[in-house]
């Protein structure tokens, strides 16, 4: 065979080492975001330890720390002090720092896991519907229609009333939020897949004899990351809020287990009289949102070969 080996250009170092991590390493924002996420996860895991260091727990009432005339934390900024770093919760006097750190457990778990469920389902179903087309597409599309048109409120209330207590609440929540969340992802992914399906490289893969799974994994998925990442990262805070809304319907994580969403909705009414009550859990949620999204941006850039190399 031909032994001519004179590539049409100067030898270039192999780019194979340009892994995801490598690319992310150049993105300071993504790194900062990753650090924040790790910190929050650590805070969630180590919540009891952190609370112990502070010397508090999120359950004990300290009504003596409340302003007797209105029930807000006594003292400046909602009762911030050396022993209550974030102050105390109005009406109960429970330690807000402990509530926020413990709340990270519930909110993070549910926000991230439910998002994962809806994204995985949405991508699988959406991509297969768009790619396979025909009756399968009709079925998936109609199911998404049904789910989107279904009155979730009544379903949640019913569920709250009939779900057996034996099912762990977080699991129930993740399933329910995830199940109602996937149609949106599926629709977007399906639409994108429809236009990818006709692209030459997908046709090429099909002509090579690639099966559905291969085409999905190797051809479609890499080209779907941009919308998937966006929907995924934006869905996380939405789900954290959704969990809070569900606790008003009796399907949420039952009190007194802390959750950011519930704290935030409790705090809304206090925004004028005790803003700190809103600010701490609100800031935690916002930081997490921001971090996930910035990390998502970084990932998107890293996964896009055209933008991966930074100036």
């Amino acid at each position: 065979m031909s032994d001519i080996l004179s590539p049409g250009g100067p030898p270039v170092p192999a780019a194979a080492s340009r892994t995801l991590w490598h690319a992310l390493r150049r993105d300071r924002w993504a790194q900062a975001s990753a650090v924040i996420i790790v910190l929050i996860v650590v805070a969630a895991v180590a919540a009891p330890l952190l609370a112990l260091i502070e010397g508090q727990d999120p359950y004990t009432y300290h009504t003596e720390l409340l302003n007797p005339s209105n029930g807000a934390g006594a003292g400046a900024l909602g009762g911030i002090s050396g022993s209550h770093w974030f102050g105390v919760e109005p009406l109960t006097g429970r330690d807000l720092f402990a509530i926020v750190t413990y709340g990270a457990r519930t909110s993070f778990l549910i926000g991230v896991a439910a998002t994962a469920v809806s994204v995985v389902l949405g991508v699988l179903l959406g991509a297969s519907a768009g790619y396979v087309g025909g009756w399968w597409d009709s079925v998936v599309s109609r199911v998404t229609d049904v789910l989107l048109g279904f009155p979730q409120l009544i379903f949640m209330i019913s569920l709250g009333a009939v779900a057996p207590a034996a099912i762990p609440r977080p699991l129930l929540l993740i399933t329910v939020i995830g199940l109602f969340g996937w149609p949106r992802v599926a629709r977007v992914v399906r639409a994108q897949t429809l236009s990818l399906r006709g692209r030459d490289f997908v046709r090429a893969a099909r002509a090579l004899g690639a099966g559905g799974a291969h085409v999905f994994r190797r051809e479609l998925l890499p080209n779907l990351w941009a919308p998937i990442i966006v929907l995924g990262t934006v869905t996380i805070p939405a789900n954290i809020g959704f969990e809070a809304a569900l606790s008003f319907l009796g399907v949420g994580i039952p009190p007194p287990t802390p959750s950011w969403g519930r704290s935030i909705s409790d705090a809304i009414n206090w925004v004028q009289s005790d803003p700190m009550f809103l600010i701490f859990p609100g800031a935690a949620l916002f930081l997490a949102t921001l971090a996930f999204n910035m990390l998502g941006d970084g990932l998107r850039d890293a996964l896009d070969p055209k933008t991966a190399v930074r100036r």
Binding site: W29, S141, L148, V230, I264, T307
Partner: protein
């Protein structure tokens, strides 16, 4: 054209099936509730005899499958509740009769629909335009401070509860600045200016909450598209950057955006509960929530069907629109 008709027919059939499934599922789920719909009409004190009377009058004494069929039948043939002088006649198409509100569900919905539609259309247009504009802006300034700021601001919207944003909006614009009315609804026919004036704040609030997805989606998509060869061609031809971005790139960017838009708009047409509540707008969302809390099955069914109809319609429109926007994805 024959093909188009067949496609349309198929989709219409699909729509009907979906509506049937949704209504059936709603009916079924409703019966999972431990509450008794007749209790609300039973009065106080509610003796078992009173309850039985109410139940029979409202038709809740029959097996639920039969009730469901009765509901479906009412859509075509109308229904009559009770007998004699006080019988309530609900003419076809009868989507049920609310004993709580003493009105046929259809007319209840008819009253509320303009409000919800006004709210939904206005808000969604704002967030679509604002979201996409922010996203495009951010993409063009990728990595710069202005990109980060724009994205951070839109993200504040997703992570903030609607109630909070609404309340703060009212406090700021309604009271402190005193520029817009804080509640109520003025019919468009009555005064177009008043209509818009009363809706500005709710529109903005809803838009702020929803814009983030659009901003981020268009940003990511824009970055993707900017790397395509055809953008290079458009530039090589000397098209102004405005056209390159605003037309050549945007059309491609819009593809995933309008899909989410359809989902969101469809859902919104079913009512934006919290926003409606905060701004005292008598829309479908409030009707639905009341129906759930008053165990008002007929209203629940009616609103659900309407909401589902909108969702399906919006998705259908998008499927068609998608073919227009992207010829490669045209349905064959």
């Amino acid at each position: 054209m024959n093909r188009a008709l067949r496609f349309l027919g198929g989709r219409l059939g699909g729509m009907l099936v979906v509506l049937l499934v949704v209504s059936f599922a709603t009916f079924a789920v409703f019966y999972l509730l431990p509450t008794d719909p007749a209790r609300m009409s039973c009065g106080k004190p509610c003796t078992p005899e009173n309850l039985a009377v109410a139940r029979q009058f409202m038709g809740f004494d029959k097996p639920w499958i039969q009730q469901y069929l009765g509901f479906l039948g009412g859509i075509f043939g109308g229904r009559t509740f009770g007998t004699g002088a006080t019988a309530i006649v609900c003419g076809a198409p009868c989507f049920g009769y609310s004993f709580q509100q003493n009105e046929p569900v259809l007319s209840l919905i008819g009253d509320r629909l303009p409000v919800t539609v006004s709210l939904a259309i206005g808000a969604s247009l704002i967030w679509l335009v604002a979201g996409v504009a922010t996203g495009v802006f951010s993409a063009l300034r990728r990595g710069k401070a202005s990109d980060r700021v724009a994205m951070t601001v839109t993200l504040a919207g997703v992570s903030a509860p609607a109630y909070l944003v609404g309340l703060l909006g009212i406090l700021l614009f309604g009271f402190t600045l005193d520029v817009v009315p804080v509640s109520g609804y003025v019919a468009f026919a009555q005064s177009p200016v008043g209509w818009a004036w009363h809706l500005v704040l709710p529109w903005l609030v809803l838009a702020f909450i929803n814009a983030a997805v659009y901003g981020r989606l268009s940003r990511g998509q824009m970055l993707e598209i900017l790397g395509e060869d055809f953008i290079r061609t458009a530039r090589a031809v000397g098209l102004p950057e405005r056209t390159v971005i605003g037309k050549y790139a945007l059309r491609n960017v819009l593809l995933p955006v309008i899909t989410v838009f359809a989902v969101d708009l469809g859902a919104l047409l079913g009512g934006a509960v919290i926003t409606e509540r905060v701004f005292a707008l008598p829309g479908l969302g409030g009707l639905m929530v009341d129906a759930v809390h008053q165990v008002d099955l007929p209203v629940l069914m009616g609103v659900t069907l309407f909401a589902a109809f909108f969702v399906i319609l919006a998705n259908f429109v998008v499927d068609v629109l998608y073919g227009v926007l992207d010829p490669r994805a045209r349905l064959t």
